[in-house]
């Protein structure tokens, strides 16, 4: 019982390990090879100073530069020792970063300037992503629920009568109340309308006719009479209207392609062995 511990393999391993460590301490101390060199080249120093200047918008002072160099040396010492000790292996952050650098590398392999035909073709085959909403240009007469309270329905009837007589644009500055965002709205989309006036209002606006006063349309602010002077149709835009976005998306698609190509070619070099996958949770549940 007393010697059970001595028979434990872990204990034996620890004792042997400690003995080896002690031996190395005595023997290995007489290091024969020269110390590793860390050279901080003048190009490196320039580089450190540039980095500092980008952040602080001025070059570093003497002490600051010394601090940067000291920190670089500290970095290098820990980096080399850490790598030598294998600390870079099986580290999820380092793996992710290295993968990212490989992907950047693939993406960097210069994407050429697209031709007109390529952009047109890309726009046509991805129309859904570039479609635009209808836009409305209108002005309004606003009746404020806050200002008018219970009188709003009666007032609304009067405004309705007055505007019915006006078959063209009338001077409406004498009718209704001020609205914080104004009375005239230029090329506003349905989404923007919903953001300003609420969904109900935006939906009503989408079915109104042009060039005559209509209303009242209720919102949570009160009642609105509107005169829509223009409905700019949305839908498929011409290339010129969305050229920058199409070029950006086209380039992105090319970069992803390049990345996939690099990956495929590299993957070919490997024989891949996947040991049997564990059952997925839904399968596991089903088998229960």
């Amino acid at each position: 019982m007393k010697f059970a511990l001595l028979r434990e393999p872990l204990f034996q391993f620890l004792v042997l390990g400690a003995a080896l460590f002690g031996l190395f301490h005595i023997v290995g101390n007489k290091k024969t090879d020269a110390p590793e060199r860390i050279v901080v080249s003048s190009a490196r120093i320039d580089n450190l100073a540039d980095g500092f200047a980008r952040t602080w918008r001025r070059p570093p002072g003497k002490e600051e530069l010394q601090g940067l160099v000291d920190d670089y040396i500290r970095d290098e010492v820990f980096y080399r020792e850490g790598r030598a000790a294998g600390l870079d292996r099986d580290d999820v952050i380092i793996r992710r970063r290295v993968r990212q650098k490989m992907e950047f590398f693939a993406e960097d392999a210069s994407v050429p300037e697209p031709s007109e035909a390529e952009l047109t073709a890309y726009l046509e085959s991805n129309l859904e992503r570039f479609k635009t909403e209808d836009r409305l240009t209108f002005h309004q007469v606003f009746l404020s629920a806050t200002r008018r309270g219970a009188a709003i329905d009666r007032d609304s009837q009067q405004v309705s009568n007055a505007l019915a007589l006006a078959d063209t644009e009338v001077d409406t500055t004498a009718i209704g109340d001020p609205f914080l965002l104004g009375e005239e709205f230029q090329a506003v989309s349905q989404t923007e309308l919903a953001g300003i006036f609420g969904d109900v209002f935006a939906k009503r606006m989408s079915v109104l006719e042009l060039s005559r006063w209509q209303g009242p349309i209720p919102s949570s602010f009160g009642q609105h009479f509107v005169y829509i002077s223009e409905r700019i149709p949305g839908g498929a835009p011409p290339l010129d209207a969305v050229r920058d976005a199409v070029r950006r998306e086209w380039s992105k698609a090319r970069r992803l392609e390049a990345e996939q190509k690099l990956y495929s070619s590299l993957r070919e070099r490997y024989e891949i062995v996947v040991e049997s996958l564990p059952a997925t949770s839904t399968e596991a549940e089903a088998s229960r």
Binding site: A145, T146, P178, L181, I196, F201
Partner: protein, 296 residues
Amino acid sequence: MLEFEYARSALKNGLKMEAELGVNPYKFGLVGSTDAHTGLAAVEEDNFFGKFSAYEPNPDRATHVLLKADKAVIMGWEQTASGYAAVWATENTREAIFDAMKRRETYATTGPRMIVRFFGGWDFEPSDANTRMPARVGYTKGVPMGGDLSNAPRGKSPTFLVAALKDPIGANLDRIQIIKGWLGKDGQTQERIYDVVVSGERKIDADGRSRTPVGNTVDIANATWTNTIGAGEMITVWKDPDFDPALRAFYYVRVIEIPTPRWTAYDAKYFGITMPKDAPMTTTERAYTSPIWYTP
């Protein structure tokens, strides 16, 4: 208010430092944000996904310890479902939005999409609150939120045009306040809150405060409220009644909504649970603007 813990105290300290250093390092604009780590912009009280992906909506999230540090424990229910950054940009482009932030023409909200205007100048008159185009008058006669006033004309006090429009699908407004901070003759910073518009028939006392609460329509059990109190929009012109042209000062606006159910109330109803007794069940959402600074 703990010094160094709040934006207001930083604004006040900025005045003090400016008097000493000749430059105000705390001349910042205000925006709201989520501080969430979920990648979601789900900050409405009735659609709050929490700050961390590990504590998304579930019946226990309010009673979870969210953060434990030397000085404090923060419980799940203490999270606030907020907030948004509002920017007065001349157009919806990256350049225009950055320009607006650079000139601090921004405000923060705790979640509602309120529209808030704030202009300072020397010549706003009460009738400007009835103009058809408040923004046009504001830019013509003054500077917007984030701006600067100086060279006080003899005998004049700064005047402010301030207006707010509620979120189209949100709660009505209780009141608009202007918060003034200044550096006294003795070198000490001071602050004061003025109610400048209140909804309904309530009165603002001679000291600039309205002591009648707006009321509360929140039905906590059902997590609902009604817009039967408060106002949909507010606008006024306010003149600083205690202006001293020799003293540095700043003014910013706070717009306060009527009480609404807090996310804890929506959770309690949805999951059929009882919240810890310390957890607030209602909230008053609000907006804060960037200040307008006066420099002698």
